[in-house]
Amino acid sequence: MLVDMAEKLFADLTTDRSAPFATLWPRVEEMGFGGLLLGEEEGGFGGDAGDAFAVLKTAGAAALPLPLAEEVFGRLAAARAGVVDVPGIVTIATRWDGGIAGRRFTGTTTAVPWGREAGAVVLTGNGPDLLVMARGARVLREDANPAGEPRDTLSFEGAEVHEVPEFSALHWGALSRSAQIAGALDRALAMSIEYANERVQFGRPIGKFQSVQHSLAIFAMEASAALSAGQAAARAAEVDAAHFEIAVAKCRASQAAAVGHASAHAAHGAIGFTMEHGLNHLTRRLIAWRSEFGGQAFWADRIGEHVLTMPPGQFWPNLTARSDVLSRAAGSK
């Protein structure tokens, strides 16, 4: 039901891709999607990681041009930090410089999703996560990722800081991007199949040619792998921090994103390369999301580190014990 609601809303919000943030975002707020993971007593949905994965996958499939993932996990971080009332959006920064003195942050953050709209920014990836209030922050530079999604540089001077205990927005961001990639791959694959069945060359639909069939079969395999790894990570995140499973999910999704990007464009030919055709909203996001919140190599290094620090011969026993514990926890829900 949650996904049906999301699907309808996101379809509405993407009919006019020139609509400004100021008209789109209030519709998301009205529906309360930002509070997806907050408890009902905090005015939220009381959803879990699986719900978040499903909604963000739907957002990815719609190529929703809004910072929903950042808001969902940013609000959760704010609530954990005991900060309830944040105007604007809560977004996440993985790249930042600066220092803290007397619970005040002075420094800059770069490539912040929708930084220009931020009421607060979660700084992550280096020590404990910090929630920095953005009142009085300056937007030094408005920029965008390859998909045209705002990625801004902000400067803070003596901004109020709250520590977010036991939280890693880096991992939640990676799980979010895995979900968005899985959704975008699913939709781009469906579009490619539809197009291959319609487009006639040499007297038959191009989807009847074996080379096209095999390219789309590979696309489907990669999309399936991204989805399976992502869903497994979301299930694990309902049990604990799930750092290993999220690392795997983002590593695998990033690998799949590149294959899907190439295959979707190959299937669509020149028409898919136009701005007018909807494919680019998905494929440009795929290449951007592939690198955000840690690319394939970043997470491969983390996984490798995790595995290499196990005692000799313990990789397989650890792997299976972990998945047995997770499956039992999911099964007892």
Partner: protein, 380 residues
């Protein structure tokens, strides 16, 4: 349209004990066996190990007790299979019988066939091979020409099968044989249970490029098979084979065949401290974990009575792709490989580099699988 996690196993009670039991059996048997012996282990026949596995109750896990089976769950069966493979146990003798032949007999066989054959499979005594390919019929399996002619005494079989793994070390073959006309293609095929000790059968091993002689060609010269050895209905062979292939394609052997190389790579990463090895380990583990999720979900779907033909094809193609890429990727990172001094790592790499092309040939070629996936996507 994509495979998802609708079907899932929950780790059964006693999973830890079951894993420990299988590990102990495998490690006790393998003792100080080197990593080369542990690679591609489901292609290494060893009746002594199969007898031990049967004695330990690890064969016929989900089959009815009245045929000797253990009536355990599909999740427990999966645990046994993956633990045996991860250890590198030589499971080849009983693998096909346990994985698909016994299951096929339980589904389509007669009561007489089940009673006669299944208890021996469960004990680890009775071994099966697969009779599908022929010299003129590889990927185009529906073109098989080995023929069974109905006579007063039963079926008279003439023709030739090829690439049947361990036919010379098996008791039975389940063969796909033409009972109708060639024009009928799929509809003219039936399955037979063939006792390989019967007169008129000639089995010749074929040496593969790694030097082992585990696959064979099998000649049928007026072999007289009683009608009681027919499996299922006449003309239903294709349908039955297709269901059998989902069992064959989605299991853990599609991502654990080169597992001993991943273990060796982890050891190398631990001792060398090299960043590039650490990254490759991370990448390989990400793929392994994802494949395992997909394989378990497909096994759970099979266990629920569904027929996940497309999912099984996805697991096999992705899995064998990963297993073929791993030795190549390891080789690409090494400045030099010690192929010639008896070094374990070099020998393991040499073996898998040679053996891995077969991973995407046996059990259905990559090209055939992609055709099946494309059909599932609505492209054919």
């Amino acid at each position: 349209m994509l495979m998802s996690d609708t079907f899932r196993f929950t780790a059964p009670p006693g999973a830890d004990e079951l894993r420990a039991k299988v590990r102990e059996l495998a490690e006790g048997y393998l003792a100080d066996k080197d990593p080369v012996t542990r690679a591609n282990c489901w292609m290494r026949p060893d009746p002594a190990f199969s007898l031990l596995a049967g004695e330990a109750g690890l064969i016929g896990m989900v089959w009815p007790k009245k045929y000797g089976g253990h009536e355990r769950t599909a999740a427990e069966r999966y645990i046994v299979m993956e633990e045996l493979l991860a250890a590198g146990a030589p499971v080849c003798s009983h693998w096909v019988a346990d994985r698909q032949s016994g299951a096929l007999l339980l589904k389509y066989g007669t009561e007489e066939q089940r009673q006669k054959i299944i208890p021996g499979i469960v004990r680890g005594e009775t071994y099966f091979c697969i009779g599908l390919s022929e010299p003129g019929s590889g990927s185009d399996l529906a073109s098989v020409r080995t023929r069974a002619t109905h006579t007063a005494e039963g079926w008279r079989i003439n023709g030739q099968k090829i690439w049947s793994t361990i036919a010379h070390k098996s008791h039975y073959m389940i063969a796909l044989i033409r009972t109708g006309s060639e024009e009928e293609r799929q509809k003219g095929l039936s399955q037979f249970l063939i006792d390989l000790s019967m007169p008129g059968i000639d089995i010749r091993p074929i040496r593969d490029l790694t030097g082992t002689e585990e696959f064979t060609e099998v000649f049928f010269d007026d072999v007289l098979v009683p009608d009681s050895m027919r499996i299922g209905e006449v003309g239903e062979g294709w349908k039955q084979v297709t269901a059998e292939l989902a069992l064959e394609r989605s299991g853990p052997e599609r991502y654990l065949t080169s597992f001993s190389l991943l273990n060796a790579l982890i050891r190398f990463g631990q001792t060398s401290g090299r960043d590039d090895i650490r990254r490759l380990v991370g990448q390989a583990v990400a793929e392994l974990w994802s494949l395992r999720e997909m394989s378990m979900s497909t096994a759970a779907k099979l266990a629920s009575g569904e027929d996940p033909v497309v999912e099984a094809s996805i697991v096999k193609d992705l899995g064998t792709g990963y297993e073929q890429e791993l030795p190549r990727a390891v080789q690409a990172l090494l400045e030099e490989v010690d192929f010639a001094s008896g070094d374990d790592f070099g020998r393991l790499l040499a073996y898998l580099l040679q053996a891995s092309p077969s991973f995407s040939l046996r059990g259905g070629t990559r090209e055939v699988l992609r055709g099946i996936i494309a059909r599932g996507l609505g492209l054919r």
